[in-house]
Amino acid sequence: MAVAQAAGPIEAPAASAWWRGRAGAAVVVALAILIAFFGWKNQLPWPAWLTWNSLAHDLDNFQAWLSNNRNVPHPSIVFRAFNGVANFLDNLVGWLTSFFFKLTWAGTTALGTLVVLRFGGRRAAAIVLAVFVSFAALGLWDPVVRTFALTFASVGLSLAIGLPFGIWAGRSDRFQRVVTPVLDAMQIIPAFAYLMPIVILFSVGPGAAVATTLIYAIPPSIRITALGIRGVPTNTVEAAQALGATRMQTLLKVQLPLARRMLLLSVNQTILFALSMVVIAGLIGGQGLGAVVTSGLYSDPALALVAGAAIVIMAIGLDRATEAMANRTDPTRRHLTAGKRRTLHLYTAACAAGVGLAVGLGHALGAGSVWSRWTIQGWLLRYVQNALNYVQNPHTVVFHITDPIGNFVVQYGLNPLQSFFVETPWPAMTFGLALIAYFISGLRPAVVTLAMLALIGGVTNEWTNAMETLSQVLVATGLTLVVGIPLGVWAAESLRARQVMRPVLDVLQTLPQLVYIIPFIYLMPVSIVPGVLASVLYAAPVVIRLVEAGIRDVSPHPVEAAGAFGATRLQVLVKVKIPMARDAIMLGVNQGIIMVLAVVVIAGLVGSGALGYDVAQGLQQSLFGQGVLASLAILALGIALDRVTQGRRRKHIELA
């Protein structure tokens, strides 16, 4: 009796998983939208009476007014401040560029290699040396230096802003609470969406490129810095406080030294984020490798691919170098005695002398500012071009594989979905999506989603384009999940799979977004498909990683318990691991969809049309108003997609 009574109340909540009912409701809503589509196809496009038609024109006028007023001989104080910032950024990049040129190739190589040798160890130094040699061999030293300058300026400024704010966020819960949603927002905005506003404010040039990169690179630097400061053991900070340390003493003597490795890793991440923006920055006046890629996109694809490879090489070199330096100089791990310290001082002096010598030699031997002898560029370009020609030749095997695949995706994936989204009556679509957001994520996300969809239709006048982009995003996300989740599960279950995948994923994650697209333009010469496939390739590594981490983080105890009850490996996976990793998998879906959106809109440059095309037009043909509105629509779409898929995980984390 007692047992039955006790079991009664426990049974009720466990009877059905909470999401089963909600997921079911979401599916019902989706079916209702489908019925609306078949019943009233093409009869209710976004109505004109709900649209702010003159906005694009007004924005054009505003832009004209802005450029007229800032370029007069004596602009007002506001414009002077803005011009000052823009000029400062331009000059910073220019100054760094000429600095590296003055060092010459030999001097820069010696500087990079010896600094890494001194602080990061031999292995990392060897990688850095190889990276510099490859730059010379590729015949890309000139754009490499410009990219270096751009990256260093962006990273320097990102850290100048990110480290203090990160330290503040690490020390103050209140500030952390304030800054987190701002950083979240900064990170879900596709880079393509803030190009237009920045071009309007800073006009095209290195300054605009730096500003764009800053928006992208500051959030990780703040986050990781705060994480590092928070990672310092509470006891240690309390011990300093208990001994009467001031806040400054605690920071300088305890928190910063103990967090130093994380701070250097935040430098590492900031560099990688900055580098991945290099190509996009090339669209708005950032010189260097990014410009080579973006201009080569139309004129010299082989060169664009080689320049893209150079960016990846640079990313790998900087990544390994900074990671090695972060680990090797961690004061909590290496135990420096007075004797060792003296030796290291001598070492430093020797390295400095070596750099000086290399600079002198570089000038003496006439290596000058540009290194252009003995390159393999011509040879390499021929091969790449041959490969591109081969895959485009309609008589080759490759073509017979790629062409049908491309057509299949368009015919059975993109086209039907596109017509579904574009032609469904607008009320069914807006309220349906909001309802789905409500069932998957809750009331607030649903309200935000509705507001964002209204913004897209009513304010930006981009409803059709946005729905077209949405259909591409959904196809790409579907493909990403089909690829990513099984691979993630496999990587979590098998060490061998993990070992094989890791280097591939590393390289894929360092590739700048646009570089993904280039090969697909040639492999899949069907307008929309390259963008979709490139975005799959861009988002899949993150989904794989999140799923893998989620499954591997499942507490070993229930897994062990299931094993003890005689569960097979598959049962353990399906009944224990995957359900327990649900939040991580949902996070993978969320991140994947945001990343897919970022690439799909960039593909507007190469024929994906829709929102990305309007932004590209805005940039390339100075259709500012339209560009800004399309940017706004991308932003709104990004926020809506994030809200719909965020699930209830944030609440879980709060309660935990």
Binding site: P233, N235, T236, V237, E238, A239, A240, Q241, A242, L243, G244, A245, T246, Q249, K253, V254, P257, L258, R260, P331, T332, R333, H335, T337
Partner: protein, 355 residues
């Protein structure tokens, strides 16, 4: 005599003057708007109800106590009983929600940030459960850290650090780094760091919980020895009852943020205030804790010529003398007979039948 070994902290505590630490009605409630709860009837709600009604957690509820110079005051409780929060409120590492705290005549709760820092630098120091050592500094620099915070010149603070390291038996490890030492040795560094600033009050927050039982015992001996040599006043937090009984002059037992009983080890073992405390002390052999003072009765005429024992002798240590004597033993305090102990009293104490 043997008794100083068995009751090692039986030192003289002078309770005539001012207490060194005085805590009055200290509250700590975590949550937004916590300050509005103290003083209302809601403050006495059980934990779950308070959480449901105000989304607050009362970690410390209306705690008052005094600690006298040279006393070892132990706060004991299970995890979540608020003991670690309590010790942190004493020097405002955690701000108390309400109440008044005085240390060495200074009002801690009213102190300005500067005054508070001065107090933390010179009056108190603290030893932590997970040591809280600076991994990037040598042991000797860790020990000198408190002095460095105070701005003591380098040569002077290093000399003092060496001296304290000798005191805790680590004179050879000064140039090593914390991660090169065992857990017990790391906590000795923590002890040395706290001693180096020569505080009036030492606060210990479960300092030995993370250590193995054998090392824990060593470290308890170390604390007892240091207490004898330096005569510091200590507030010692622990969840380990034998440790509390071993070290404490007086012990406060906490439950759900409140003190349920405050008394000497004998009082806790001899007359637990409620079932909770009784459950705690059930497995403690009474004869190891109770002294003659606890079981003696008034001397009847003619009984004053039995063997004489110090009144602070534990029952266990008195057994050979009492059993070996035909006559009841006399308990002596400061040369005077204050009571007698006979066979029945000893047997009753061992059997737990008195009260």
């Amino acid at each position: 005599m043997g008794s100083s070994e068995q009751t090692p902290l039986a030192h003289v505590i002078d309770r005539s003057g001012e207490p060194l630490i005085r805590a009055e009605g200290v509250w700590k409630i975590f949550g937004r708007r916590a300050d509005r709860i103290v003083g209302t009837p809601d403050a006495d709600l059980p934990r779950a109800e308070l959480r449901a009604k105000h989304d607050c957690v009362a970690a410390v509820r209306n705690v008052s106590f005094e600690v006298w110079p040279r006393e070892v005051f132990v706060v004991m409780g299970l995890s979540g009983s608020g003991k670690s929060t309590l010790v942190r409120t004493l020097i405002r590492l955690i701000e108390p929600t309400a109440g008044k705290i005085q240390i060495a005549g200074q009002d801690v709760t009213a102190a300005s940030p500067q005054e508070l820092r001065g107090m933390r630098r010179h009056t108190s120091s603290m030893v932590f459960q997970h040591f809280g050592l600076l991994a990037h500094r040598r042991v000797v620099d860790n020990v000198a850290f408190g002095l460095e915070i105070q701005g003591v010149p380098k040569a002077e603070r290093l000399a003092r650090a060496e001296e304290v390291l000798r005191l805790v038996g680590l004179e050879d490890s000064g140039n090593q780094f914390p991660d090169q030492l065992s857990g017990g040795m790391q906590q000795r560094v923590g002890l040395a760091r706290a001693f180096a600033v020569d505080p009036k009050v030492m606060l210990y927050d479960e300092p030995f919980s993370a250590l193995d039982p054998l090392i824990r015992r060593d470290m308890q001996d170390e604390v007892i020895r240091l207490q004898h040599e330096t005569g510091k006043t200590m507030v010692f937090i622990t969840h380990d009852l034998p440790e509390a009984l071993r070290l404490g002059d007086r012990i406060a037992i906490m439950r759900d943020g409140a003190i349920v009983q405050l008394g000497t080890p004998e009082e806790l073992v001899g007359s637990p205030a409620d079932e909770y405390v009784a459950n705690f002390v059930r497995d403690i052999p009474r004869s190891h804790v109770l002294t003659l003072r606890w079981i003696m009765r008034g001397a009847r005429p003619g009984e004053e010529d039995g063997p004489k024992l110090d009144v602070r002798t534990t029952v266990r240590n008195a057994i050979p003398a009492i059993v070996g004597s035909e006559r009841p033993c006399c308990a002596v305090e400061a040369g005077k007979i204050v009571g007698v102990v006979d066979h029945e009293a000893v047997l009753a104490a061992i059997a737990g039948e008195n009260d």
